[in-house]
């Protein structure tokens, strides 16, 4: 028995003395506000105060807390600064998904107790041990610095920066993520994964184990899943052949202690290792899957222009990028429960309807017998679009009749989850003597790993995006997705486009120098404008705000360039890069449906099936629906994403929720408004109010005998691409340009970022606060891609070998929002989720080149690579 003074109350905890404090708090005391992101001291999500000092609860044995004061996020509101800190986080948008928030709040509490008015450096030092993957940290810093000056929020019209509507539970520890709310009697499921990249295996008699070993033979329905309806190539439990390190071959199910006690040596599995295929060796080698005899999953192409105009300058180069991990701070977690012939699956996801379809097929039961109830999602970024635990816990609960839960460890999450595709790119570009682009040729192999996942999407998106948002008369592009024995590459913010943007923008820098043009002006000269036709043959009539973005950056460009150090050991550089990004699926339907109801008792409900993974769709869609309806956002009750309660809004990917679901929400609002006005016999400009359960139209109460309903659906108009990549792949595009200013240490090759200025054409910022949060978070991930992130299977399966940016790695970010209205979008809006990340890495590489003259050929630009590039230059 250990005695703690827990959030001010004397508490006895009956757990073994070596139990981690984090586990004791969560499992014994029921305080799940303390999060576990790594169990190794690397992420800080478990930060609590021990006698007022911040500690990682996962590194403190319970016995060392004996007799001491432990403060968790649940006790924060009662601390001197606690409530003010929570309010500041709320109003600054410092919590997006919210999984890091308890740790951030506790670290900030320690700081503020000692230093009530800290400066930025002190905030960075104090919060440096807590990782956030969503916010880019800037809003968090601002919240801690401006604690007392939070202004009251605006009402919530379109264009208002209101705090997120689902934000409060993220601040007091009450939010329930995938690992937080399973029933106490749930069995545990522990996946057994291949330690080899490529191996045959056989599973012998498992009856000696203290837990049940589920294998492929136990799957009632189809033992396969995959993103595409016709590609279900990844088995829930592999059958005799493991195709990557992390491939799941079986799962132990039983009481937690029994499941955890099974040692690797106890498992009746024999392995026969096979030589693994890499992107270099796979094409033409013995097929990994019979379906793709040459190991080429797909090839995407684009041909535009018959002949290239005469050129004065050419530039060419080769670039390679590595695997990048999503590194959401919440590892995959959830649970399932059987109710008669129906299965309920709870947990973190970005795509509940796809989960439903997969679970139904794996169990061999009708879709209607599967209900997906998403928990809060502690970050996704594309990585929680593919199923992970869902089919496994569903099968286990189905067969045992008991609730079954699973929580991936960090190592397991890293090994098993999808990654950003590594790319190997060769590109050539040319321009005339005046600097006008004449041609662009691009070929790339994308390592799509062991299973298809989103590989076809990447091969589809890259050829149409790789020339960037520019006028190029002649383009030839090709991207292949190559199957290998690496982790499956899937969807990750930008679907292959960020890798391509590196090649494209680096070539522009070379051409600008060759023509003697300023690098920013070179981009202005060549930028797409309204009225232009893209290389897919799409006429862009509206909402092409790239030139405005570049013009907004121009004064910053000149100031930053003038300030940079050009002599000495630390050399300054400023880089610029642009991007465009098609919103929604590529040339494919991706509809969304939203619903609003008004009950006779005046209860107004917004039924919204779009999963908010921290990006803010719950808030933004409500703002849109309320505005279209003509009532304040505060009047809405919410029924959020649950496949039994909400209509299919499609998945949270491809930056599509604001644009596609937003249009559906706008239509739903307009439809309900129409119903109301018809009943009230009022004109289109009538004023609606709702108070005390009574709806008034132009101040006249409107009595209802039945529930009124407004449903809206939207599917963006696209035309599928033909074999030459011609068509209308997207209804609209986001545009952006970013500047990066940095210094390079010429002796060490280290990079110090000083400032990033980002100009983004978002059509219309429905909620500027949340848009800025997306931009800052995307930039932080772009910094990681450029400078430090590289997943190596077997070698970086934790968060101290796989490095993501900390609070000290993200410089001051200035965001400029350009609003070139998109007539198709809700109130003119487009999307922002992915665009924010795309230009950051090329802008950083452009700045390194500016500082040193060296062109990096491989990202991440680790110091030793930078130094090599400087030497070779």
């Amino acid at each position: 028995m250990t005695s703690l003074l827990l959030n001010g109350a004397a508490t006895q905890v009956a757990a073994a003395p070596e139990t981690r404090l984090s586990a004791a708090l969560r499992d014994e005391c029921g305080l799940t506000g303390t999060k576990v992101g790594c169990d190794a001291g690397d992420c800080g999500a478990c930060t609590v105060l021990l006698d007022g000092a911040q500690v990682c609860a996962c590194l403190v044995p319970l016995a060392q807390a004996e007799g001491r004061a432990v403060t968790t996020v649940e006790g924060l509101a009662a601390t001197p600064q606690g409530a003010a800190l929570q309010a500041a986080f709320h109003s600054h948008g410092a919590a997006q998904c919210g999984i890091c928030t308890p740790g951030m709040l506790m670290a900030a509490t320690e700081l503020l107790a000692a230093t009530p008015n800290p400066d930025e450096a002190q905030v960075q030092a104090a919060l440096g041990g807590v990782l956030c993957r969503c916010t880019g940290y800037r809003a968090i810093i601002k919240a801690v610095l401006t604690l007392s000056t939070a202004a009251p929020p605006p009402p919530g019209a379109v264009g208002d920066s209101i705090p997120r509507l689902d934000g409060l539970p993220k601040l007091d520890g009450s939010e329930r993520f995938g690992a937080d709310d399973a029933p106490a009697d749930a069995l545990w499921l522990r996946p057994i994964r291949s330690p080899h990249a490529h191996a045959r295996f056989s599973i012998g008699d498992a009856s000696h184990l203290p837990a049940r070993l589920l294998t492929a033979a136990d799957i009632p329905g189809r033992n396969g899943f995959g993103i595409y309806p016709d590609i279900k190539d990844q088995a829930v439990f592999a059958e005799g052949l493991a195709r990557y390190r992390g491939d799941c071959v079986a799962a132990l199910v039983g009481e937690r202690a029994a499941v955890e006690a099974v040692r690797w040596e106890d498992l009746p599995i024999t392995w026969q290792e096979l030589p693994p295929l890499t992107a270099a060796t796979a094409p033409g080698a013995a097929p990994l899957h019979p379906r793709w005899p040459d190991n080429i999953l797909t090839t995407g192409r684009l041909r535009s222009g018959e002949t290239a105009p005469p050129a004065a300058h050419t530039a060419q180069g080769q670039w390679t990028t590595g695997f990048v991990e999503h590194a959401y701070i919440e590892p995959e977690a959830g649970w399932a429960e059987r109710h008669g012939d129906t299965i309920h699956v709870h947990g973190c996801t970005q795509a509940p309807y796809m989960d439903r379809d997969e679970v139904a097929a794996v169990l061999g039961i009708p879709l209607d017998n599967v209900r997906i109830i998403p928990s809060a999602c502690g970050g996704g970024f594309g990585g929680k679009l593919d199923v992970s635990f869902q089919p496994m816990v569903a099968v286990a609960a189905w067969l045992t009749g008991r609730p079954v839960r699973a929580v991936w460890s960090r190592g397991e999450s890293l090994a098993s989850s999808t990654k950003r595709h590594p790319a190997s790119i060769h590109a050539t570009a040319a321009c005339d003597a005046a600097g006008r682009l004449t041609s662009f040729e691009f070929t790339a192999d994308y390592d799509t790993g062991a299973y298809a996942s989103w590989g076809p999407t990447v091969a589809g998106r890259v050829p149409v995006h790789c020339m960037g948002p520019y006028r190029v008369p002649y383009v030839r592009s090709q991207a292949r997705a190559v199957l290998t024995n690496n982790p499956p590459s899937g969807a990750f913010r930008g679907f292959g486009v960020p890798q391509a943007a590196i090649a494209q923008e680096m070539l522009w820098d070379q051409l600008a120098d060759a023509t003697g043009l300023d690098r920013l002006e070179f981009r202005v000269l060549n930028a797409l404008r309204e009225g232009d036709t893209t290389n897919t043959g799409q006429h862009l009539r509206h909402s092409v705000g790239l030139v405005e973005c570049l013009e907004a950056l121009r004064p910053h460009w000149h100031t930053l360039r003038a300030q940079r150090r050009t002599t000495g050991r630390l050399r300054g550089g400023v880089g610029v890069a642009c991007m465009w990004y098609g919103i929604g699926n590529t040339g494919m339907p991706n509809p969304s449906t939203m619903r609003l109801t008004l009950a006779p008792d005046g209860r107004l409900t917004f039924h919204n099936g779009a999963v908010d993974i921290g990006q803010g769709s719950t808030t933004v869609l409500a703002q849109i629906a309320a505005e279209a309806l003509g009532l304040p956002v505060s009047a809405l009750h919410m029924v959020l994403y649950d496949t039994a309660l909400t209509a299919d809004a499609g998945k949270t990917s491809a930056s599509r929720q604001t644009f596609v679901s937003g249009r559906a929400a706008q239509a739903a609002g307009a439809a309900l408004r129409g119903e109301i006005l018809r009943r009230a016999n009022a004109g289109p400009d009538a004023r609606l109010t709702l108070s005390d359960g009574t709806l008034r139209v132009n101040n006249e109460p409107l009595r209802l005998d039945t529930t009124l309903e407004g449903t809206g659906s939207y599917d963006p108009p696209t035309v599928p691409l033909d074999a030459d990549g011609q068509g209308i792949p997207y209804a609209t595009y986001g545009f952006a340009a970013q500047l990066a200013a940095l210094e390079v240490d010429l002796d060490l090759g280290t990079i110090h970022l000083q400032k990033i200025v980002a100009a983004h054409d978002v059509g219309r910022a429905i909620n500027p606060l949340l848009v800025r949060g997306q931009v800052e978070g995307g930039i932080a991930q772009g910094i990681g891609l450029a400078l430090m992130e590289e997943y190596l299977p077997g070698r970086t399966e934790n968060l101290h070998d796989y490095l993501i940016p900390t609070i000290g790695d993200v410089p001051d970010i200035e965001t400029i929002l350009i609003e070139a209205r998109e007539p198709l979008g809700p109130f003119g809006a487009k999307g922002i989720g992915e665009p924010a990340l795309v230009p950051t890495a090329p802008a950083i590489l452009s700045a390194i080149r500016d500082a040193t003259g060296a062109t990096l050929r491989r990202v991440p630009a680790l110091p030793h690579r930078v130094l090599e590039a400087i030497r070779g230059h």
Binding site: E18, A53, P61, G129, G411, L792, H800, P863, H864
Partner: protein
């Protein structure tokens, strides 16, 4: 759920007895920032945990009349930072310990644990080597001392005999005109493992170096004392020739590995760069300029 024995003896003698009695099945616990991670990974499965944080000798910092310091093996970086004098006398050692991990980790991690864990990249060790720290070790056969550089014998391996516990560090008295510094190179701004780390301690008189020690981390299977680098610094005014020679000696001492954090060529070059930079800081401190 588990059958681990957890002991928190109040005296060193009891700890030594319990440790010996467990016959290799026990682990010492200081801050736990390495041990708990290893247990979680299944790399170690101790039958007994011996928590040394209740032993006064191992958790105390004392400055003796002669100016030497005793730092108990289990003292955390955060506690060391609060000592009114230690950071003034040994700023480089203190910096090195408080480069370990994050604020959360610094509140727990000890120099003793850092050393006993045996990582060639342990941040506090090159600074301790430069400082000329002497270890006190207690075991079933009594106490012994050894210079810190003799302690690590390979990655994860130390010269502790079975049943021995590291009790603490003695840092020698500081002559006037002394200063030390530690620098490491990491790709990320914080919370990262050193690609190379260099500790330098100097004593100077009239602008001339009269004594020097150099410790080098993450550049060989163990942290190294680079005597050749120190030798060329002594007697010099830290002019370019002397610094270049010391930097070359540092590079020559490197036997690094190629890994994801850095290549052999890179580590060898960085060792030289960091030597010069750390020496400059140590010299400023020795001469009261910083």
């Amino acid at each position: 759920m588990t059958d681990i024995r957890y002991l928190a003896p109040p005296t060193l003698d009891e700890a030594v007895r319990a440790f010996a009695a467990a016959q290799g099945a026990a682990r010492i616990l200081a801050g736990g920032t390495d041990l708990l991670v290893q247990m979680r990974n299944g790399m170690v499965h101790p039958g007994t945990i011996i928590d040394i944080k209740k032993i006064p000798e191992m958790t105390s910092i004392t400055e003796a009349a002669d100016g030497s310091f005793w730092v108990g093996a289990a003292v955390s970086g955060a506690v060391l930072a609060e000592h009114p004098r230690f950071g003034k006398v040994w700023p480089g050692v203190l910096e090195a310990i408080n480069l370990i991990g994050s604020t959360q980790v610094q509140g727990r991690a000890s120099a003793g644990g850092n050393l006993c864990h045996g990582s060639p990249a342990a941040d506090s060790v090159p600074a301790m080597v430069a400082a000329g720290a002497v270890l006190t070790i207690a075991g079933p056969n009594g106490r012994r001392t050894m210079p810190v550089e003799a302690f690590p014998v390979g990655p994860g391996r130390t010269s502790l005999a079975a049943g021995e516990i590291l009790v603490g560090f003695t840092l020698p008295a500081r002559p006037a005109g002394s200063g030390d510094a530690y620098l490491r190179m990491i790709p990320r701004t914080e919370m990262d493992i050193a690609v190379v780390g260099v500790g330098v301690s100097l004593t100077m008189a009239g602008g001339v170096v009269t004594a020097a020690r150099v410790g080098l981390g993450a550049a060989a299977p163990t942290v190294l004392l680079v005597a050749d680098a120190a030798k060329v610094l002594v007697g010099s005014k830290l002019d370019d020739a002397a610094l270049n020679a010391a930097a070359a000696a540092c590079s020559a001492a490197c036997k690094p590995i190629d890994d994801k954090r850095g290549t052999i060529v890179y580590r060898t070059k960085v060792a030289a760069v960091l030597l010069k930079r750390a020496a400059a800081i140590a010299a400023d401190r020795a001469q009261g300029r910083a």
